[in-house]
């Protein structure tokens, strides 16, 4: 299993590193980082990614806007998106899923849950 490209969009460098470090435990993942929604979109258009993990609360462009734009892009209609956020309210979860996110995980970081979700979505 090689060649899965994963984009991690998160404004907090610490949280980004926590996610990246967790994902590196799955073999064959090439992980690219983005600081916010706009940076994420730039990287998505410059390459083809197989999985996207994004935060919601970010400067410049938030995660929900990013999810919505990604789903409107024909190249990313089926790409799994995992939202990882501090927003724990049911309506936030429903909104993210309605916009096209596949999974919604709340903070504080739940490494095992992230890994399980990624493995399930990517069939690895």
């Amino acid at each position: 299993m090689t060649g899965y490209k994963v984009l991690v969009v998160e404004d907090s460098p610490t949280m980004r590193q926590l996610i990246v470090f967790a994902l590196k435990r799955i073999r064959g993942f090439q992980i690219i980082e983005a600081n916010d929604g706009v940076d994420g979109l730039k990287k998505l258009s410059a390459d083809k990614f197989d999985l996207i993990l994004t935060d919601i609360n970010m400067p410049i462009m938030d995660g929900l806007k990013l999810v919505s734009m990604v789903r409107n892009d024909p190249n990313y209609k089926e790409t799994p998106i995992i939202v990882i956020t501090t927003e724990g309210a049911t309506e936030d979860r429903e909104r993210a899923l309605a916009l096209g996110a596949n999974e919604y995980i709340t903070k504080p970081i739940q490494t095992m849950k992230i890994l399980e979700t990624v493995k399930k979505l990517m069939n690895v």
């Binding site: 610490t14 590193q17 501090t86 309210a89 903070k107 970081i109």
Partner: protein
Amino acid sequence: MSHHDEENDAAGRADEFLQVFKKGAEFTQDLLKENERLRFRVVKLEETLKEKGHDVAADAPDTIELKKKIVELEQEKEEILGQIKVVEEENQNFANRYVEIEEENNMLANLYIASYQLHSTLDFKEVLKIILEIVINLIGAEEFGVLLLDEKTNLLEPVASEGLETSDLPSVAVGSGIIGEAVESGENYFIESMEGYERDFQKPIVCIPLKIKDHVIGVIAIYKLLTQKDEFTNVDYELFTLLAGHAATAVFSSRMYSDSERKLSTIQGFIDLLTK
């Protein structure tokens, strides 16, 4: 024959017929009884035959051998079932242990990242930002503040916060209230029950003194956790203490670096002034 004679003759024949009929009935009754007796006898004989046949088979050497084999196999089956149960229990224990180790592994990995981030810079403001990020993303706090000790005034002064204004946080004297006492004792404080808690800047739900060995340099006071985080886990308690140590050294070294930089720049200014 007269009419009277004829009547006597008919009555005698009827009587005779009745006698024959009675005997016939008695004979039929006897036959039925005999039939019943014989049927009973047949059943008895069949049972005896069956018993005899069984006894004969039970005594046969092959049967004895087979019975022995069955007993052995039954015992073996019981032993195997017992072993399977033991293995299943062991398997369950290993699975539980695996989950525990995974959790510990994750915690250590997270702690490594957190401490790496904390010590990746000597910029005091950046260190404070990293502390905030760690408390949000690793602990799950929504409203909290970082207070550092001013050794000249012996007051804890708020320097950073999340979810509330830093300026709203009060200065706290060492030894005063929950925050001051936690700093004085150097012990972590956790509220007994969060039920019905209302935010009070003097009474946080958690106080984590920032310590370098026994020297306390400040405190993290938490007033609210994220909605989805309703309680602390055992891992959290360990994490608090370990992070507090790393955060304290990072704050201390970045502060010292900033001070020395400032002094250096002042001295450089004097030197420049003298040499011009």
